[in-house]
Symmetry: C2
Subunit: 353 residues, 2 copies
């Protein structure tokens, strides 16, 4: 039975409130998680509550964080997340970038001392809702990507989200991890006992593995490209670029160094990056959207390899999913429902689903 | 016999001057091409003069362009390249982004009505020389990348360059086409008659080809990832992102639409994108460079899959090449030398090599 999104929002908010999170954090985390569920990005929806509950129980997140602006100029800002979940500082940062962009044409905001912030695309699309181009990247709490020629994960799955406004078409929204595949795809293969493709993951010697159980033991994903012959150095370079924008620029912690030097560090100190850019600083009102619509028309009209498989534009499958799920509700696996129920019970949150 | 870089600069300048290019264009194109040769990016060095000579003979570039600023704010600008080569407007755009960045912390400049601008990394590194993060992307005159599920090239090889300053280490510099491999790799395989890897290129039905001669006939490269199973939709999304930043934002021409609607258009109207970002808008002086140095130390120390293959950081091979070539000169193949000699003779340029 699919769950109406409004009910899922109430349930998520009830759980987060029962943890003692302040109302702005409850609202932000609820919004970002359920947006991901609406868009079909189930790996980053309310299923994330299981990870956040781990954080809570192991003291890896501040429950009543004081998000603050550390540094600010008319075009830039740095925020400190005070070790809480990343959604509230993330939305504040993107909104600040948007406000600055409205005044100057560009806004760039970095966040340090944060945590998991959900799906990167939700932040990039926030800029599009104001008519701006939006970019967001984030580092992660745990290394997962192995650099080309390496035998050890050193970089997070480090996603890049880029969204741009259109008029006739759905907004363009690229939201991609810089690994070849998401860890979830490996997990799923392990669950059903299917081999994974060579080039998705490595063992602890840096060799390709096809046994998903071995792959899950090491968490050593390849960078986009998969193998050196297929240009994995490009995916590695992109993951490193995201790490520099998210971690180094914000002054956050580089995960493998933190894990080696402070295995019991109370906070993960994850960093994020946000950029908003106004097309009207470069083009007359509406011309950007008109041209992007025409480009999307051309991409849709691309001759197909298989007549049954149309060429899609990034963001379209997610928007179609949103339309269906706003109407029909969000499907939640029985296993996830049981986990969420346990999480709700542990802190006395009302069970609504 | 390797050619000393200073002599190669003189030869390049002599050829471009004989074409009637103004001194600022001669200097800019000479600089960008020989920088690529120094960095070992031979595909984007003086070998490009053969393509530019085609442009000249077929009237596809303005010989005495008037580059101008079309629109400007304290943080942004749009330049028009007037249909000339891209190096002069490219360097002016990056320098303008740097000047704005020095004043406000960020500078974003787009260029329209331009042409091939050489290696993207040269522009990104220009920001690093001033202590800033630099980003540059460009579209190209000809579609080469096939969208996932397509059977037809729709996007250029659309490179992304990202460079960041360090203190102890060589600057970080990612400079990558968003195709799996460069067209040059396919060309080289065709020259020596070796099959190419499945996933590098497609035929005109969208099927994988391994015969490089067939691949060269269609110019249908895969996006980074190579196949749908290896997440080619991510490389496709990145190529589309670059197209939006370079073409749509600047108001330049989307190559497949231009080629279909105006096959004899006198100009290619290529667009570029430039961004400079000051780490000191976010961090105390020197902290960014210190942290990036530490990250590079950690990446170098990654456990290796093969003890003989160290983990490198983007930009290092190119900087090592520069050191060697500044000392020993730049090797030029006999075939390229013969072509350059013919190009010089055609317009009466002195032959110096």
């Amino acid at each position: 039975m699919p769950v109406p999104v409004e009910l899922l929002r109430q349930q998520t908010a009830a759980i987060l409130t029962s943890w003692g999170l302040p109302p702005d954090h409850v609202a932000a985390t609820t919004h970002v998680l359920t947006e991901a569920d609406l868009r079909g990005v189930d790996s980053h929806g309310v299923s994330m509550l299981t990870l956040y509950d781990d954080y809570r129980r192991t003291g890896k997140m501040t429950l009543r964080p004081a998000v603050r602006v550390v540094r600010e100029s008319p075009v830039t800002a740095l925020l400190d997340g005070d070790g809480g979940l990343g959604h509230c500082p993330g939305l504040r940062a993107m909104d600040l970038a948007i406000t600055k962009c409205a005044a100057t044409g560009v806004g760039v905001v970095a966040v340090r001392n944060s945590n998991h912030y959900g799906a990167a695309g939700v932040y990039a699309l926030r800029a599009v809702a104001r008519g701006f181009i939006g970019i967001s990247t984030t580092a992660t709490w745990r290394p997962a990507i192995v650099p080309t020629f390496g035998a050890q994960a050193m970089l997070g799955t480090n996603p890049i989200a880029f969204a741009a406004p259109t008029r006739r078409h759905l907004p363009f929204c690229l939201d991609m991890a810089t690994s070849t595949v998401a860890l979830n795809k490996v997990k799923l293969a392990a669950l059903v006992g299917q081999p994974i493709l060579p080039g998705w993951a490595l063992d602890d010697q840096g060799h390709t593995v096809t046994d998903p159980a071995v792959a899950m033991k090491h968490i050593a994903l390849t960078p986009l490209g998969g193998t050196p012959e297929m240009s994995s150095h490009k995916g590695y370079g992109l993951a490193a670029m995201v790490e520099i924008l998210s971690t180094t620029l914000a002054g956050a912690a580089f995960a493998p160094s933190r894990a080696a030097q402070h295995p019991d560090a109370p906070r993960y100190d994850v960093g994020h990056f946000f950029l908003a850019l106004d097309p009207r600083a470069f083009r007359d009102e509406g011309d950007f959207e008109t041209d992007l619509d025409a480009m999307i028309d051309a991409l849709h009209a691309t001759r197909r390899a298989d007549p049954d498989d149309p060429v899609l534009v990034p963001g379209e499958p997610e928007e179609h999913c949103r339309t269906a799920r706003e109407r029909d509700g969000i499907p939640l696996a029985a296993e996830l429902l049981a986990k969420l129920r346990g999480i709700a019970q542990a802190t006395g949150a009302e069970w609504l689903l």
